[in-house]
Subunit: 379 residues, 2 copies
Amino acid sequence: MLSSRIGILGGGQLGLMLLQAAIDWNLEIHVLDPDAEAPCKKIAPHFHHGSLQDYDTVYNFGKELDVITIEIEKVNVDALEALEKEGKKIYPQPAVIRKIQDKRIQKQFYIENDLPTAEFILTENRNDTARHASFLPAFHKLGKDGYDGRGVQRIASENDFDKAFDQPGLLEKAVPFQKELAVIVARNPSGEVVTFPTVEMVFHPEHNLVEYLFAPAEIDPEIDRKAQETARQTAEAFQIVGLLAVELFLTAEGEILINEVAPRPHNSGHHTIRANATSQYEQHWRAILNLPLGSTHAYGPSAMVNLLGEEGFQGSAVYEGMETLLATEQVFPFLYWKFVTKPFRKMGHITIMDTDIRALKEKVEFVKRNIKVISKESH
Amino acid sequence: MLSSRIGILGGGQLGLMLLQAAIDWNLEIHVLDPDAEAPCKKIAPHFHHGSLQDYDTVYNFGKELDVITIEIEKVNVDALEALEKEGKKIYPQPAVIRKIQDKRIQKQFYIENDLPTAEFILTENRNDTARHASFLPAFHKLGKDGYDGRGVQRIASENDFDKAFDQPGLLEKAVPFQKELAVIVARNPSGEVVTFPTVEMVFHPEHNLVEYLFAPAEIDPEIDRKAQETARQTAEAFQIVGLLAVELFLTAEGEILINEVAPRPHNSGHHTIRANATSQYEQHWRAILNLPLGSTHAYGPSAMVNLLGEEGFQGSAVYEGMETLLATEQVFPFLYWKFVTKPFRKMGHITIMDTDIRALKEKVEFVKRNIKVISKESH
């Protein structure tokens, strides 16, 4: 399988980290991305510039390859299905991408498979949504194309219904939760399944982006067992080949509910590059190439801070504070080859390790205070 | 310093691993190599095809850059000196490369700096060498251009003098030693010095190549202290900026002697990619970019096995046993993007980790038995 011709749809930061891991095994990857200056551009052995949503572009990219994977869900699944029929290995499978692409189908899938998730109502448009005042507080989620904090609106009361999307979506009950957790699961075509340790995510209060995370999550062993088991069952229900990142709510009552899933490497697994025997990126290659899955053993507690473009700055990125970070024991910045910053753009991440949890959390605060992505030109 | 234009002379496996580490920090590296199919070819953001020994080629490559480093010593140092005079940062410094390039000068440098090394006699040609029968057993070493086991001959008795090189070299007393050790030292322009834990090398009995190594070395703390201190003193004597790999003999009497040094990442540090908080490759970038040096903390004991082309095979490389290795907990193969194998060519390496030393050594034997680089065509 190591001599397969392999392609990735998408050349963003997840693709970049997949490429970095692929170097170890002589994997000569092809990357397709609509942005001629995508993060993968200068590192990919073969970079193809083109749309991920155009049937012909995706089909023509895939027809010269043996194995095709994704680092973003918003791709032309019809083209992938055609390639799959011709015998190409498409992992995750097009049928899985289709289910996950549309949050309405994704949520119904959980119900059909007895997987725990928050209550919801499917809605067709804004007026339809506004009929469900008794279901509030809730989140209105766009069915398709939500990504990185876009496509979700909190509807606290009837006054907020004007924020609802005027397109097919779903209204999800706002569940009082203690914590948000995530478990990344890998599954290969032989059916082998391995999970990464449960992580705890802390979201930015306004922007619905993971601000930082800790691994392992500080939860009771019984809760952890439930989180791991739910994630594993979800991956098995989808019969996915590749990675499935399962985001979970730990409710006030100690229940585990699936929030949403992503069929690819995920923001909640960046720290595994430094902190675990096998990173999520290497694990993805193992899974889709039907190789034995690797040990997810962690060398110690770790944290991961997203490095977002500073508010008020747009233009050529300048990384302030890198030397301060590099002078701190076991603090590992990773930048994403994005040369233009804008407010809240994901520009990189920082992995932090320490054997002591308290020292680890202090380092997180230190890192957050000491690094900034700005630009020469302020706005 | 992260926005410097950086170049590497040499695009072999050491360059490849430097490139992999450079991805984390947006370092858009230029690589020069005389082989159009060098390991770095497909990964380097900018690959330049040309001689490392031609003055104009090296000068023209360097004049568009800010920082130039090497992954092989056999380069045109005159060109580097000219670039240094123009204000380019050349690390390691041309003066250091010049001293190390010629083993005769290197050995004299140890004497001048009171650094412990085995006794030697400088020799001009084969006849000259053959005059020193009373100095045997010894090794005859070529002054310049020895590499990877070439350029060293064991002269056990007078009968072996026909194996001596007929060029300037040195005859080094064969010292009865218990172990061969290595310490990699990093030093930045601010004078900060950090060492990696001492490793123990086991050589292939015939081919004078590192066959495998263990980290940390199994030696008394007092010996370890001496090895670390000798390595640090050597780096400081050279005033090197970058990495200095110091190979040492632990003699039968418990003395530490310098065998030889390399002013760059080294075979004895590959395992640091997986086993240490900072790899030798990241440390090299930190050192030459005058960034704070990283922690060399090891997450546990590790071993490294060189993956050499199997005897009797030459042609397109086939890696037998990769799946077996990948199925073994914490066994990490790294392949070098060399598509043609030949006997004893370095085709990759395998890092092995385990918390238990005995289990680690058993895994080393398992790995050696289970992986082979062959070709479809046998000879």
